[in-house]
Amino acid sequence: MAILTFTLSEEGVTAFRDALNCLSKFSEDVSIEARKDSFFLSTMNTSKSAYASFRFATNRFFGRYQYQATGQFQDKFYCSMYIRGLISLFRSRSGVESRGDVDKQTIIDRCDIAIEDGEGVKSRFIARIIFRNGLTATHRLPFEVSMPVHAKFNRQEALYHWSISSRTLKQLVDHFGPGTEYLEVNTDGDHVNFTCFSEKTISDDAVLKKPLHTSISVETDEFDDIDVEDKLQIVVSIKDIRAITQHAAITGNAIAARYSLPARPMQLSYASDAISCEFLIMTVGERGGNPAQRTKKARKGASSSNNHIPPHLEATSRRTSAAPSQTSAEIQRQQSEMPPPASSRQPSNPTPRLSAAKASASRIGAFDFRPSQRPPPPTLRSESLFVDDEAWEPVRDEDEDGDENARLEWDHSADPVSDLVNCW
């Protein structure tokens, strides 16, 4: 007897596949939980440090959805399945060679799923895939009836939150190298720093014993809203973040993060039309000195002291990088309005920095994401790469004045290039 039957359209199959692909990056098994009016896919990884769940709106996502309460499943049905089996079932059928040739493509018309269990019936997840050309494929996968483990998140406890466009976040995450393990998020004034690093050494022989340490500083204006304790360092696994952002970028909606203190879980959530996704990942990290100080921004462009300035026109990236969503044209503008270095900040040898900046200006097209090369003095920089801990502390927190100087408005002169030259 079928406990649960539902129908997926072609888009539904794709959405299911995306969700399963994301879940497979956490664990090998997926838990299915179905009620009369809700359908969940969830998983927890083996070390119990990450939990992912997808909730499907039964009335909008499924073409037909019917839950038949029977036997032990009066209230809800639950089971656990091997993800690989499900992924291969919902895989994309349009091969590379047949692309463009519509006749040769095997396009899924719809997919009828039935879950059967009970006495005298084999426990099977039955997927009947009906192709547009008339073929019908029936797949029967076994499952195990086991209660899903859900992670709980206390929203009251999570004081800090931010939300950002998932595409922007994905662009940021794309810059982090393959060998890295952790992602640190901290705030510093009106910037949020994403730092990706690894604790493990690649090999003892190499000069650089640790893989690339990448830091991206993002203006708070990139965030839809943000309310985080200043200098709070939250460290999470980059692998989990990558899996989440990859899926979130498909939906394209804003992704919201909520967390409290290190060693407490962080919640990442986003929703699309018929699917809402929630992830809980464990954090480590360190708390800054001043819990009272907050980095805050309610909505884009609101309540900032200098909100008459369009966000992009500020001289943004002070340290290593600019937010990647900026176009190169904007970056060029920023270049042109880059102020002379504040004397209080860099009293010693200003000349090498100037030349470095000029050099970078000439290569602007090639290095979009590192437009204003104003590296910190050599000592600071080498520390930040090879010595741990205080390297991740904000480097120049004392000179707020310098920041104010840096926030120049767009100079309306016509030629940015000549401007650039004049500026230096």
Partner: protein
């Protein structure tokens, strides 16, 4: 050149690509059995006498085709030359063809930096391939016991490969009774390929093919480690061009064997599935080769013996419910 003694067999092709495509489909055995006749060459690969694949290269595929068989004693049908050659080596040799052109172009590019930097991605109007003077590939079998020679000539380079010929093992063809067919289905080969691709993820060992008079007409099913899968034509009768069946027919085959034929399914345009009363499955593929010619590939499979023991019943029951 020995002009007096004519070679037993000599065939010239200007484009050995079809030969390569066809022969690659039966690349599942170490050696193939070669038989040369007046109409063409027959390559037969055999796997433990339960699977057989035959590629017949019609003489129309060659631009020149000459045989010179010694007349046999009784003066009727001559003895056709029979021998075995390693197929993978033959395929490798055929792949040499065309490489000279690439090498020549690379050399030219070195000498002419203008071409190498700017025009490299463009199809070269003066390449041998475009001009259709791609050189020649000659197959030569001088006399019995001689190596089977492949001579490739292009752009002034001549490559000669001699493949050792082995004594024929004379494997009997798998007996297939054309007069006692249980069913015959002709359909697009691509559809069969899709069916097989659909059930591969289940990791099957055994593939069961069932043909029935009524819906679902033709079913391919299997049970693997992560579940069972089946593909049927209940809604897709239009996909079956010819469908004649005498009786319900169901046989199981080793999946790996059927999978060996998937290259043929991929390149062919049509496939004819036939099963005789003994359960032998015949797959005939029609391949459209360059120049509007047609070639055929023929596969035969011997089914698993049908004495079901207990645990197999279990699997079968699930497949047919």
């Amino acid at each position: 050149m020995a002009t007096e003694v004519k070679p037993l067999f000599r065939a010239v092709s200007t484009s050995p690509r079809p030969l390569y495509q066809l022969l690659r489909c039966i690349d599942f055995a170490q050696r193939v059995h070669v038989q040369i006749t007046e109409d063409g060459i027959r390559f037969a690969a055999d796997n433990s006498r339960v699977m057989q694949g035959v590629a017949f290269l019609d003489k129309a595929l060659f631009s020149a085709y000459t045989v010179n068989f010694p007349p046999s004693e009784d003066g009727e049908t001559p003895d056709y030359p029979n021998f075995q050659i390693p197929l993978s080596t033959f395929l490798e040799v055929l792949q040499i063809f065309g490489s000279v052109d690439v090498a020549a172009r690379a050399q030219k590019a070195d000498q002419d930096p203008y071409r190498s930097n700017i025009r490299n991605y463009r199809p070269n109007a003066f390449s041998n391939h475009t001009l259709g003077i791609a050189g020649t590939c000659t197959l030569l079998y001088a006399e019995e016991g001689d190596p089977f020679k492949i001579i490739l000539e292009e752009s002034g380079t001549k490559t000669t490969a001699g493949l050792t010929t082995y004594l024929p093992e004379m494997p009997e063809d798998i007996p297939f009774d054309r007069n006692d067919l249980t069913f015959k289905i002709i359909m697009s080969s691509r559809t069969l390929f899709d069916c097989i691709a659909e059930i591969i993820p289940a990791g099957p060992v055994k593939l069961t093919i069932t043909a029935t008079k009524t819906s679902p007409f033709l079913t391919l099913s299997c049970a693997g480690d992560i579940g069972s899968s089946s593909v049927d034509f209940a809604r897709g009768k239009d996909l079956l061009e010819t469908f004649s069946i005498n009786d319900r027919w169901s046989q199981a085959y080793k999946f790996d064997f059927i999978r060996h034929a998937s290259e043929a399914m991929r390149i062919a345009s049509k496939v004819s599935l036939r099963g005789d009363s003994q359960g032998v499955l015949s797959l005939q593929f029609m391949v459209d080769v360059e120049g509007g010619k047609r070639s055929f590939l023929d596969f035969r499979f011997v089914p698993f013996a049908t004495h079901d023991d207990g645990d197999e019943d279990d699997v079968e029951a699930e497949e047919y419910d």
